[in-house]
């Protein structure tokens, strides 16, 4: 596979008079892991919601080749439904609603398949959210704040799953993270979004080495 699975050009999104995204250019190649980092309110979730069609652009273009699946911020379970039902709904867009493949990819979910999703731990819910997105057999996965509020061990497990999905199935991933260290380590390329604009982009190593990024996102604090 080659070519761009996500191609965003001069994307502008507004909430009323407020500009959330201002002429953003971003792309993801097939089978590529790309990070999008930036502070709260930079427009990261706006970009994700526009990619998945929930928000409409005010200007510019968004083109997606193949199927894009979205793991939303905050995990967004159907709390009263079982894990299995949550997974099945992930395949709402396609006909094949067989969950066997996802249980194979994420064996940790087998044990809780009949539990109500609302009663699971945060880590388990993030696993369900990932599985639900995989149900639609996407070519590109957009993950919004994967590690937020999760224990380091759980985050490491999720990251391992993403690496495996990427290397084995050629799944492209756009990873939105507050944890810049994790994102830059996992992905080969990165974008930095601030106040609705892309302020830096390039190979992860180069982004990590830039003094401004290091100071803002990789400095002192825990991750």
């Amino acid at each position: 596979m080659s070519g761009r699975v996500v191609d965003v050009r001069k994307l502008t999104v507004r909430y009323g008079a407020a500009v959330a995204l201002d002429e953003v250019d971003l792309h993801v190649e097939a089978g590529e892991l790309v990070a999008l980092i930036g502070p709260n309110g930079a427009g990261k979730s706006t970009l994700v919601n526009t990619l998945s069609g929930i928000l409409k652009p005010a200007g510019g273009s968004v083109s997606v080749v193949g199927r894009l699946a979205h793991v939303p911020e905050g995990r967004q379970m159907f709390a009263s439904l079982t894990v299995d039902d949550n997974l099945r709904l992930g395949a709402w867009r396609i006909r094949d609603r067989n969950t066997a493949r996802v249980y194979e990819l994420l064996p940790g979910l087998v044990r809780v398949r009949d539990n109500r999703a609302g009663l699971l731990s945060g880590g388990q819910q993030q696993m369900v959210a990932l599985g639900r997105a995989l149900m639609s057999r996407p070519q590109v996965l957009v993950i919004d704040e994967m590690s937020l509020g999760l224990a380091p061990l759980v985050v490491a497990e999720l990251a391992a799953h993403l690496r495996a999905l990427n290397s084995q199935d050629g799944l492209a991933v756009l990873l939105i993270e507050q944890n810049a260290r994790l994102a830059l380590e996992l992905c080969s390329r990165a974008y930095v979004l601030e106040a609705g604009r892309v302020v830096a982009h390039g190979p992860s190593a180069q982004i990590a080495a830039s003094p401004a990024v290091a100071a803002a996102y990789l400095g002192g604090g825990p991750g």
Binding site: S52, I54, H70, P72, Q76, M77, F78, A79, S80, L81, D85, R88, L89, G90, W92, R93, R97, R116, R132, S136
Partner: protein, 286 residues
């Protein structure tokens, strides 16, 4: 004893009607969080339509089926007006349905007049332990049981049922996986309309209907549904049966004019007990 048995069976039959109206409220509330005050009108429209269709020479069965389908269509239209505009709050939609319910009076009187209407149901009667009961009550009870079973299967075992629940449980997540939340809401209104229509079609042969019968129906249906927190069909059936029997007993031993009062009393009791147990109505599974 035979009188008691007779009240019991007629109460169960009428209670099934309340349960069906209530289940329509439940389906709509579960998916849209809107309490649909036009719910009683679906039953009235369907019942009136049957009387017209029978008069036009349509056979039994076909006339009833058409009327239920018509009620489903009316439900869809009410849904379009109440929640069709994106961003309408459930509270605003509730007031819209209240308005539609009253507006429906005008249309109903225009088409069918203000006189009570009825039509024949299942003919014949039978004797059970000395009590004489119209056979039609058995039809009401059997049809209602089937419908409630079908509804349980819909919500628990089908993807459309899961999607209906999901649209209410987490509208954002529903959109993320590609479920059209507004369309699910409209589907629930159509289903609610058909359920209300079925109630009207089934109970009219034993309880004649006028344009303003919807008040008793919606109050009774709401009383039945509130037992299941407006979200659980099984408890709605139980609530409807309890209410129907209570009303039949009050009517039999005291007076027939206390129908609505019995419903209101049950509703208030359930709401007070529930309010004491938990702060607000919450989402519950089927």
């Amino acid at each position: 004893m035979s009188a008691f048995l007779q009240y019991l069976i007629t109460g169960l039959g009428v209670g099934c009607g309340y349960a069906l109206v209530g289940s329509g409220l439940v389906v709509i509330y579960r998916v849209t969080r809107v309490v649909n005050f036009a719910q009683g009108a679906f039953a009235v429209v369907a019942a009136m339509a049957v009387s017209t269709l029978l008069g036009a020479g349509l056979p039994h069965g076909l006339a009833e089926a058409f009327a239920v389908a018509l009620a489903g269509l009316v439900g869809l239209l009410v849904g379009l007006v109440a929640i069709g505009k994106p961003g309408t709050s459930p509270q605003a939609a509730l007031i819209v349905t209240l308005g539609i319910g009253i507006f429906a009076y005008a249309i109903e009187i225009l088409i069918w007049g203000d006189q009570p209407r009825s039509f024949a149901g299942l003919p014949g009667s039978f004797t059970l332990l000395g009590a004489r009961v119209q056979s039609h009550y058995l039809l009401i009870i059997a049809a209602s049981v089937l419908v409630f079973l079908a509804m349980a299967v819909l919500f628990a075992r089908t993807d459309v049922g899961r999607a209906l629940t999901a649209a209410a449980a987490n509208p954002y997540a529903a959109r993320v996986v590609g479920i059209n939340v507004t369309r699910m809401g409209l589907l629930s209104f159509a289903l609610g309309g058909a359920l209300g229509g079925l109630a009207g079609v089934l109970t009219t042969p034993v309880q004649q209907v006028t344009f303003d019968s919807d008040v008793v129906l919606v109050v009774s249906g709401f009383a039945a549904a509130i037992l299941g927190n407006l979200t659980r069909p099984a408890f709605t059936l139980l609530g409807g049966l309890l209410l129907g029997v209570a009303q039949a007993l009050v009517a039999g031993y005291l007076s027939t004019s206390y129908q609505t009062e019995v419903a209101l009393l049950l509703m208030l009791t359930v709401m007070i007990v529930q309010a004491a147990r938990r702060p607000t109505i919450q989402e519950e599974p089927a």
